[in-house]
């Protein structure tokens, strides 16, 4: 089993797009669950979607949660409080940039790395070369 990934976004399309990009790099070896948009499909977050995504991605190796904006932290934390403590212990909320972090996390997780390693890989998303220095 490899570390699971959860994408929390205010936009359903954004969450799905990030997952499809990350999945290209992990070849189905990593569970990437999404929680995008509100229950009624508008822009925002849904605790029920976050809980469902955490459950879907849950596994003994742990789960890395990536977020689009800072305000998604609160709903994610509330969702975590609803998991049983053993589950909650093995979840890290990433501070990485969403897209770049998700792609690097998917690569790292597919290699069978630990949660700490996957979280660190996601943070390398800040240094992903783009633009002129690529």
């Amino acid at each position: 089993m490899s570390v699971g990934i959860v994408i929390v976004s205010h936009s359903a399309r954004l969450a799905e797009g990030v997952a499809e990009l990350a999945e290209q790099m992990s070849m189905g070896e990593v569970t990437i669950a999404v929680a995008g948009g509100t229950d009624d499909g508008s822009i925002g977050t849904s605790i029920d979607k976050v809980i469902a995504a955490l459950q879907k991605a849950s596994n003994p190796e742990g789960t890395l949660v990536l977020l689009d904006l800072g305000s998604a932290v609160m709903v994610t934390e509330m969702a975590l409080e609803q998991l049983d403590p053993i589950e909650r212990e093995r979840v890290i909320i990433s501070t990485a940039p969403l897209v770049e972090g998700a792609v690097l996390a998917a690569v790292e997780a597919s290699a069978g790395s630990t949660l700490a390693e996957v979280a660190e890989a996601a943070n390398n998303g800040h240094e992903m070369p783009k633009g002129q220095q690529a």
Partner: protein, 216 residues
């Protein structure tokens, strides 16, 4: 004259109504320094609350407030969902099993709600959030309790302090939430969350105030 379970029900229904009426206004405030949804979010949340509590007959205030909290968390969809949700959940824990709230229970309830918002949002006074209405309101409630004012006056002074605090957000620079993305450009705009906070506290005061007749 304590606050009864029925008062709380009336307050919640009145809040739902007031937030519905002010939905466009709150959204307009949020459009200046946020993502133009605070009115929509609060209206959606309190409409769900209103439906959820319509059939509640059990007189446990704590259980009622916990239901409100979890309903808001599930339906608001914005930062204000976990924040108000946590506030009501903590308020419900602080009033667990209570059928009426005397001044000490009210103070304990507001303290718990305030601590909940602080813990959830990791913000403090002066960051241009709902806390800038709620912190002075809770301070005012404590002062009123010390001065042994009756409950209606205590709630009136809370609402008045919330309003002053809300107006003070206009000059503040946002350092939490979406408005912080604007940095100094957030100055000159009233915080939507502080405004909804005042509306909710004003609704409570109006509900229990004997001077103003209830409409429900």
């Amino acid at each position: 004259m304590p606050v009864t379970h029925e008062d709380i029900l009336h307050w919640l229904q009145r809040s739902a109504q007031v937030l519905h009426e002010n939905s466009a206004f709150l959204t307009e405030l949020d459009s200046a320094i946020g993502d133009a949804d605070h009115g929509i979010n609060m209206d959606r949340g309190f409409t769900a609350v209103s439906t959820k509590i319509a059939g509640v007959s059990d007189a446990d205030i704590g259980a009622l407030l916990k239901t409100v909290g979890s309903t808001l968390v599930s339906t608001v969809g914005g930062a204000s969902g976990p924040l108000y949700g946590t506030a009501f959940l903590r308020a419900g824990m602080a009033t667990s099993g209570k059928q009426v709230l005397e001044t000490p229970e009210l103070i304990a309830m507001f303290d718990a709600a305030l601590e909940g918002i602080k813990a959830r949002g990791k913000a403090q006074a002066g960051e241009k959030t709902m806390l800038d209405a709620f912190i002075p309101a809770v301070d005012a409630a404590q002062q009123a309790a010390k001065d042994q004012l009756p409950v209606p006056q205590l709630l009136q002074s809370m609402a008045a302090a919330a309003e002053v605090g809300m107006n003070a957000t206009i000059e503040m620079i946002a350092t939490k939430g979406r408005a912080s993305y604007l940095g100094e450009r957030s100055v000159g705009h009233q915080d939507p969350g502080a405004t909804s906070c005042w509306l909710i506290l004003q609704a409570l005061s109006d509900t229990v105030s004997p001077e103003i007749p209830h409409e429900e």
